[in-house]
């Protein structure tokens, strides 16, 4: 009984065809829509791949430039500090030399006054 009802329901519910006019309209509209639609895969494959290549290349170039600039600045900084140290050493030598000269002058004048005292006696 159940199978009988089911098979009769299947028979009643067999798919029906739409109107021929609608069928033609549907086909035409679907095809027009397809023709009007841009092809996204073409865009991604053809355009995004070179874009990615350019992006990678420019990133690599930026990295190389940044490393070069950093090294150059570091070298300049070292050179500057070397010159500064050299100036400091020269200044220290100059000061030492002046002090030694003063000491020498003092010793020399003291020995001269002692000699004068001896000759006066």
């Amino acid at each position: 009984m159940s199978n009988d009802i089911e098979s009769r329901m299947r028979a009643a519910l067999r798919p029906v065809a739409p109107r021929e006019e609608f069928s033609q309209t549907l086909l035409a509209r679907t095809l027009i829509e397809t023709a009007a639609r841009p092809k996204p895969r073409g865009f991604t494959a053809a355009r995004l791949r070179p874009m990615a290549w350019w992006l990678t290349a420019s990133l690599a170039a930026s990295l190389v430039l940044a490393v070069g600039v950093h090294q150059h600045l570091e070298q300049q900084r070292l050179q500057q500090s070397g010159l500064e140290a050299r100036r400091e050493v020269l200044k220290a030598l100059r000061v030492t030399s002046q002090k030694l000269n003063l000491a020498y002058e003092a010793v020399k004048s003291q020995s001269t006054s002692l000699d004068d005292e001896k000759s006066g006696v």
């Binding site: 089911e6 519910l13 798919p15 065809a17 739409p18 679907t30």
Partner: protein, 188 residues
């Protein structure tokens, strides 16, 4: 069971995906009957059914690349058509089923179709909720098994089974009325 056999529409689908409009036309013609019937019996009027069929195929255009076989395409079309119809019916709250009386194209008019059964069928469809109606149509129009219906409508299997059981019971009650067909059945 014979899914492994090559489906000639798989080739058409592959061509359509690469932009072949003629192949897309073949697919539209192959599937429009099923989508239209589903829409017609869900919504009840030819105009609404035609609009929905058109919307479904327009949506297919944008999704063609995600569909990998004709079997998948059939599943996708049924899913989209059923869900759109259910949504539409829910939005409208109540469909004007009185208009169904004037719809001559709602059921198959082949030689072995029974006008009395069609009347019962019409009454049954009118009393079902939109999801239950979709379940009934996918079962008896599209010949899907309950698992496939559950997948198509994203519905628990037990819900599908209970919708089918209730629909069958209701149909049995209707056909058990004082009808000439029933009298003949009893005599045998």
């Amino acid at each position: 069971m014979n899914d492994a056999a090559a489906d000639p529409l798989d080739d058409e689908l592959a061509k359509a995906r690469s932009g072949d409009r003629a192949a897309l036309g073949v697919l539209v013609q192959a599937h429009q009957r099923s989508v239209y019937s589903l829409a017609l019996r869900m919504l009840g009027t030819r105009d609404l059914a035609e609009d929905l069929t058109q919307e479904v195929f327009m949506q297919l255009n944008g999704n063609l690349r995600s569909i990998d076989s004709n079997k998948h395409l059939r599943f996708w079309l049924r899913q989209v058509a059923s869900n759109r119809a259910i949504d539409q019916l829910r939005r409208r709250a109540r469909l004007q089923w009185t208009s169904l009386e004037e719809e001559t194209q709602l059921f198959s008019d082949e030689e072995d179709s029974d006008p009395l059964l069609q009347r019962h069928m019409r009454a049954l469809l009118a009393e079902l909720s939109p999801p239950a109606r979709a379940v009934l149509l996918l079962r008896y129009q599209e010949d899907l098994d309950p698992q496939d219906i559950a997948r198509t409508l994203d519905m628990p299997l037990n819900t599908v089974k209970s919708h089918l059981k209730r629909s069958l019971e209701s149909m049995r009650e209707k056909t058990a009325g004082p009808l000439p067909v029933r009298c003949e059945d009893n005599s045998t």
